[in-house]
Symmetry: D2
Subunit: 497 residues, 4 copies
Amino acid sequence: KQEVYVSQEEYPLALSHSDDETSPRDKQQKNSKGNGDFCIKNIKQADFGRREIEIAEQEMPALMALRKRAQGEKPLAGAKVVGCTHITAQTAVLMETLSALGAQCRWAACNIYSTQNEVAAALAEGGFSVFAWKGESEDDFWWCIDRCVNVEGWQPNMILDDGGDLTHWIYKKYPNMFKKIKGIVEESVTGVHRLYQLSKAGKLCVPAMNVNDSVTKQKFDNLYCCRESILDGLKRTTDVMFGGKQVVVCGYGEVGKGCCAALKAMGSIVYVTEIDPICALQACMDGFRLVKLNEVIRQVDIVITCTGNKNVVVREYLDRMKNGCIVCNMGHSNTEIDVASLRTPELTWERVRSQVDHVIWPDGKRIVLLAEGRLLNLSCSTVPTFVLSITATTQALALIELYNAPEGRYKQDVYLLPKKMDEYVASLHLPTFDAHLTELTDEQAKYLGLNKNGPFKPNYYRYENISAIHANLFHPNFYIYTNYHLLLYFLFFSLRY
Amino acid sequence: KQEVYVSQEEYPLALSHSDDETSPRDKQQKNSKGNGDFCIKNIKQADFGRREIEIAEQEMPALMALRKRAQGEKPLAGAKVVGCTHITAQTAVLMETLSALGAQCRWAACNIYSTQNEVAAALAEGGFSVFAWKGESEDDFWWCIDRCVNVEGWQPNMILDDGGDLTHWIYKKYPNMFKKIKGIVEESVTGVHRLYQLSKAGKLCVPAMNVNDSVTKQKFDNLYCCRESILDGLKRTTDVMFGGKQVVVCGYGEVGKGCCAALKAMGSIVYVTEIDPICALQACMDGFRLVKLNEVIRQVDIVITCTGNKNVVVREYLDRMKNGCIVCNMGHSNTEIDVASLRTPELTWERVRSQVDHVIWPDGKRIVLLAEGRLLNLSCSTVPTFVLSITATTQALALIELYNAPEGRYKQDVYLLPKKMDEYVASLHLPTFDAHLTELTDEQAKYLGLNKNGPFKPNYYRYENISAIHANLFHPNFYIYTNYHLLLYFLFFSLRY
Amino acid sequence: KQEVYVSQEEYPLALSHSDDETSPRDKQQKNSKGNGDFCIKNIKQADFGRREIEIAEQEMPALMALRKRAQGEKPLAGAKVVGCTHITAQTAVLMETLSALGAQCRWAACNIYSTQNEVAAALAEGGFSVFAWKGESEDDFWWCIDRCVNVEGWQPNMILDDGGDLTHWIYKKYPNMFKKIKGIVEESVTGVHRLYQLSKAGKLCVPAMNVNDSVTKQKFDNLYCCRESILDGLKRTTDVMFGGKQVVVCGYGEVGKGCCAALKAMGSIVYVTEIDPICALQACMDGFRLVKLNEVIRQVDIVITCTGNKNVVVREYLDRMKNGCIVCNMGHSNTEIDVASLRTPELTWERVRSQVDHVIWPDGKRIVLLAEGRLLNLSCSTVPTFVLSITATTQALALIELYNAPEGRYKQDVYLLPKKMDEYVASLHLPTFDAHLTELTDEQAKYLGLNKNGPFKPNYYRYENISAIHANLFHPNFYIYTNYHLLLYFLFFSLRY
Amino acid sequence: KQEVYVSQEEYPLALSHSDDETSPRDKQQKNSKGNGDFCIKNIKQADFGRREIEIAEQEMPALMALRKRAQGEKPLAGAKVVGCTHITAQTAVLMETLSALGAQCRWAACNIYSTQNEVAAALAEGGFSVFAWKGESEDDFWWCIDRCVNVEGWQPNMILDDGGDLTHWIYKKYPNMFKKIKGIVEESVTGVHRLYQLSKAGKLCVPAMNVNDSVTKQKFDNLYCCRESILDGLKRTTDVMFGGKQVVVCGYGEVGKGCCAALKAMGSIVYVTEIDPICALQACMDGFRLVKLNEVIRQVDIVITCTGNKNVVVREYLDRMKNGCIVCNMGHSNTEIDVASLRTPELTWERVRSQVDHVIWPDGKRIVLLAEGRLLNLSCSTVPTFVLSITATTQALALIELYNAPEGRYKQDVYLLPKKMDEYVASLHLPTFDAHLTELTDEQAKYLGLNKNGPFKPNYYRYENISAIHANLFHPNFYIYTNYHLLLYFLFFSLRY
């Protein structure tokens, strides 16, 4: 569910404090082969970046396997991919995989802060046309995107987007380009929402694939990732001991389930709040007291929001928390905790560490607010490469599918990754665990009415993942639920179940 | 997923060894008010049955709450319900609830063995027209059903069925009766399948509600129930100590997940086999080694099947198991273990306890086979009343919905319980846990685009539950999956995810 | 800690309802070889008993291994063992092992109800002089013991006792017999206490070994056994669903820890009461709310005592429990719940199942009292053979040690099983789990100052089990472990256990 | 077990890069009251240090409670404490508590790197005579210690030592000082060992208290602390995802148990190696495969040592690990992994982050070695203040006990903290968890033969912690607990701990 960016704190060594204040746009750089079709901070950092990429390769087994398996047939031969994503070591592994499969790539950053300069350097040195650096201005941002698409003698036929800005730019500036484009692969909730709006408005002129909502990706982004990052995020920021602590987790969707399981395992006493009786009953059966926030707010040591909702923790609750209570958000952007309500004159804010504020009441009570209410796991933890590997593999397979699909399989609409490909992403990650899949016998396959190679669940099975709602956009009964808040639905439901 | 019957072993006291060999059909009995419109074993057992019912009431809080809430308005006033289910204390609580809500009821048993005679007596004493006893012949079975519907001056307008036999009987014998029938509520997989077949054939002439596939019911029947019954079933039959035992669980759907979680918690070392890479990856992330059965079959102490498939454990594997290995099935009927392959002359069978056979190889090796490969949790454990409460409440709400639905809401088709009612079933069970649901503020409800009273998930959300497949029967793209094995799908998928 | 007897309910088939009311003392029976030196219920049951013994052998791998390893050297050659224990299949495996090691045995029962008649028959058929049957009178009891020791031409030189009655009888009737007796092995808390009293009074005239307090036995009797039997005992008696239930566990020793861990894992919400702050802090760190009983007594669904104390649950608390609350004892005999306080006229008792009473208040509230406050796991569950195997192996090794100890190693005192033998019991059970122990290298053994074959903890290490300590308070050899590697010991051991 | 130092990385902001290269010994500084009897880095950092102290106070509730409770009576009035410990915010809370209780303090650092300069400044500003700074030379180190004790008109009467250097210095330089010294409180394994050597040699001339081995402290230092720090240490250094990873933990003592429990809970598959069959059996019953290292070394993703032994992971194993395997040590200093064997020419070392080395084999295989084999949890994680609070409270109570003990209670020997004080440390920490202890009734206390206020375990109970035993081997008061209630003790204690 969450837009991924790798925390800057984690870049281990190297060159983060460059003295060089010249804008990359004002520099002339060439890589060692004399190629200058890129714009990055400093080509000299390429070696550092290469090492980061090599380390990332080790935890992205699926892409490496894909390179091997598909290298012979070059399923992306002829593909000209323009991309706009975070530019990190993991993205580099994806780009080099696409290249190995036959694609040409041009790339910009989807976020002005998230580019790893040394990785960009390594990519440029490797011959990729990359236009990105850490700390772009807004003008830089669009300039970089434009440099990716507006190039003499090269026209993209595939788009890989994260957030929809690249797609938007082409719609706005180069609409004719879509004639040659075979499809769009979109990664983010926001970008997917924009595509559905285009589709509803009848303006989507190529097939698009929503890779955000594949089952595999959703499970890893939410349940598995949050189960670890809640501990990591709290520990790095506060060094709190979990044993014996009383914690209230607001919301018992996938994210909440991950948080609750981890904290319970570490010896915390966990309370849950919920609005949906079905989720609530699950919390009960899993051994958590289901309470209203006001019943426990005075006694808890830690408050964690993961509802997708807004104003879940309001000033009234903050006023009643006990001294030293830690408050953080694992859910949806920064709406869940009403941080604005704490910006009042009688309260003192004290920044005690990066991402950690003490908010001090007149009587001396301190609340420990993490990441100013933004997402804890993105701000104060790291996203394991393995999770990013799931995403990147899904993107690669979506590109292959769209690029190679026979005429007519996909129309000018938004699609989910076919079930079989979702299963394929999962299967490519199994060797990491030395996991051995059982094969159906012919007799069993016949008995179950299944193909031995899958898919093992029907295509619509993915509807378990609620944001897959889009699949039904065309269904006549779909609109019995008038839905003026489609994006909110997305955000809300992707946090639950 | 599983047809529920309460094990006879558990009826604690009372009259199970009746000396009275007269067929109930040959007896004339009247209750204390002189009413004789019933046919049961022995009306004198009514007091025993009443106590059983009272005990069951204590663990069926939702029905009791329903009685209270709906008693004023009598939502089933005028309803004439004919039912065909297991006749147990829990069913009695349901019937008396329906009666309290205004319905008249006539009832037969859906299984020739499962009737609790003393409960039937209590119902007859209470004025219900019950036709059922433990140990009916097949002829008795149909005779009882017929006595429910073929009655002067009374015609049913609602059907509550479990297995489809009652529905089948009316179709066959009294098709005109459907003119007055407002709907069918069906509980079992088999019965639901029959209804879909009728629907596909265009022969379904009233609305039907599939209550088997509500989210709440599915979670309890599978994950929560099996998490406890795997331990209970193994312990009651074998007294095995779980700590340190090596166990292989075949299949990692809801049932498999429940089994694995319970055994891991008790200190067993658990291996998992899977055919679906997505389920497989979940097993890995949950900390289980994913293996092929042949990799571990020599070393494990316990083998548990929960795949929904057939011939998962075949003779070849049984030959290689070590001495004392326990083999049992939690999955689908009795197909998963190839028990037939053990009926060969060189193997000796020894019945060591009820439901426990030692199969002895020529070299003295013994395999401990439980329930002859039938469902362990139904054969050797009990289904907690709380789980039956979920089912019974779902049935009651489905009857209310169908009976009161405005003209045209339901057509001659098979429906799932509306999401909101599914949530209502859950919410009625929350007070048992002293669980307090949070209510959305107006502002939050608006932000999320939800009604404050739910439903909190869109109607199609239930699709997570794969057997909800039927919802898409009307969807044009549905049949891209030609599906000759619909029932198998149901069985198969309801065991997974 | 707990006197073990195998519940009669569990004897699966066979002859439990004998019509034969003749006292065994009045019968003349001979086994198939014409030997009549025994007194049991019915020699014809021998075949049934043999099968029970064979099944038990499969889960007592350590004794079977001992038979093999020690059979060559017959370490008990010449031993004449008189025993007084529960007579069950597991005891039979022990007796036949002692016999295989060279001992002659005569045996009586330590409990008038616990004898498995068919096992006694199998033993008699196998040539053992057994004097025991189910349902002895008190007079029978002492008569049987006397028949074991008061026999022409045979005098015991070893005693294996469980409860101290046999030892007591010999002290009282045949004190001279001790001249030839090399030692006593005592299994029970009560018997051990009697021995210490003898020792304190200077009246103990042979060495005695307290096998109750070996580390291995204690861990299995308490933590591991109770972790499983709490679930089993509750399920068999009440079919309660654990998920979401609120439970209070009184006492957080080994038994309490086992109960809490199991119930938490099954989804219960567990509260703990404690009097000792160190245990209390452990409960907190393990994730349990530490409360006083009166804080939660109104809300809990299940109350479990495991304190070793008396009157932990008194009438006042019982009055305040909610309807349907289950009350049971896992701790010490029947003192923890004040059951006597419930025997008042205004309360109605209703026996609803074996071991299950409903106590009914005037307002209709029912409390579910299990086993009338006696030990749940002995009354309503079974003790796994594997646990009994630990005990029996410990007994066998203690007999071997005492019988073969060089003159002077043991004086007229009470001893604990030497650490090395305790470790040996554990190591004999490892193959069951296919567990592979690591061996120290010479270099590592030297570094740690340990013998490569153990003991790996100093002898006094067993004091972790506090109740054992008293054994050595009087013992001059207490300081025999000279310790040149004190620092290493500190470092080494503080990391272990 | 582990010497605690707070990682420098964690000092959040401020002044860590001082430009001031002047040695503190060459500076003249005075605090705001004109006092100059200290030697620290920079008195101007006092405000920063004060804030750190205030934050620490919030997680050291026991010391704060002690201040309140004991402030009236000033139990340390007249005490002149010389201390030599790590100088951190937590130590400052201890020192200010001692001061509040009436003591005068002079303090040096026990480690040349671990001093928090700003905390030292705050202490100096508060009037404490502190002699310590981060980055002392060895000469500085002894100079600082000497400045603490060698002062005109002030002579210590209590010693609080951590490592024994202060005690050693006084022995060597000012032996006459011991005439006025009432006792030594020693915190570390090393220091305790030195004291026992003195005692054995008959050279210990004052009572000493070993606070390292109190039950409460041991549980927190090992089990509870390591359960959290293994996750934290691995995550901060490698960002590894735990789910599905195969891990081998060498050693199943308290530290190993903590590591195993945490990793299992996070979804890792954990193998255990052990040399002691009793620990091994516990690992089996807790659900871990017990293996020899060579059986799994090729397949595991993470290797963790916690044995207290040496050369557990040798080059041969390192050679066979798979690419990317993480190797770290949670056990004893840096002996467990044979790091020296990796310093060979064919292997390349690459420092990829602080505390993280890649050791690269000629074929490109990389092993990820953490903290160069030193203790992971001290090098790469933080010790929660709550754990330090346990230690500091224990130290304070030991000082009070020794200072106030009546003549003759303690001789020139090494003592463990009395059981009752150990319990008191625990009880002072219970309010943090809002935990409510149950009190014995008079009747219960009598039944158990206990004082209502404890101690609840006999004094020797602490021997469960084996390393503590040596303390009392020489102690005449060992048998002071007369025990009239032996049986009750047995029953009571066998249920607890």
